[in-house]
Symmetry: C2
Subunit: 157 residues, 2 copies
């Protein structure tokens, strides 16, 4: 009778993955992102925020006000999902949304004073979460990792 259970690997989560699978970057990416998203979502939930909130607010701080379509392009959030995000942000009075007098198709979205204050909180929260996520890497390795990530993302397929 054949050995039914191969050497049973202890359940330490993801690190028991077979070598063949480990070689697959796509798989490692998925799993790390899952963990990262979980961490970030939990952390941001503590301050009543989501990761899209940060993306929009940070974009507004950096580039200034813009239409929803512009924000969508800047942040990578789908135009169709942007409405919902802005509704949440406007609900919390973190942004102001007003029709553009010069182009009545558009809304002009601005970060509010309150939004700016909130954004600074999110900055420190995210700094902390990233420290935890990247804990196993040295500062140089973190830079290298970010550099490689960015190189991959900048390449338009």
């Amino acid at each position: 009778m054949p050995q039914v259970e191969a050497t049973d690997v202890p359940d330490d989560g993801g690190s028991a993955t077979p070598e063949g699978l480990r070689r697959r970057v796509s798989r490692q990416l998925s799993q790390l992102t899952a963990r990262s998203d979980r961490l970030i979502n939990q952390g941001l939930a503590q301050v009543d925020a989501r990761k899209w909130h940060y993306a929009v607010l940070a974009s507004l701080r950096e580039y200034g006000p813009g239409s929803q379509a512009t924000l969508s392009r800047r942040t990578g959030i789908y135009r169709s999902d942007m409405v919902g995000v802005l509704n949440e942000l406007a609900e919390r009075e973190l942004v102001d949304r007003a029709p553009d007098p010069d182009d009545r198709r558009r809304n002009i979205v601005r970060i509010s004073v309150r939004g700016d204050r909130h954004l600074r909180v999110l900055d420190t929260v995210l700094d902390d979460l990233h420290d935890r996520l990247l804990a196993p890497l040295s500062a140089a390795e973190r830079d290298e990792f970010l550099r490689l990530l960015t190189r991959l993302l900048d390449h338009r397929p």
Copy 2:
């Protein structure tokens, strides 16, 4: 009247992201994974497969047969989702699923001859897709990237 539109960045997809956002590894990870998943899903769909199929089949090849719970631990697929994956694989006759005579709670899942053949197809498909995904990186950089990913994943938070 204030300048409403800040220097409008050309819409080249994701690379117009503000510097502050770019610094956030979690964000880069999410975006790269989204692209990766899209690529992999599309590629695997061409051969009537999904990425979980590969995970399970590769795990069976590497570690041999196992119960569903064991497979779940090996691959990182949730126990609750494993049933569906195995249903699809059994439908395609890529695995055999039979009750364990020694422990009647369990099913023993084995890769079939056909499954083994299919897995080799998936190997070449995935090799090709990964080449495309990692195109911007040199061989050394790919290794480094995988090494860093693995280090991050191996760290249990």
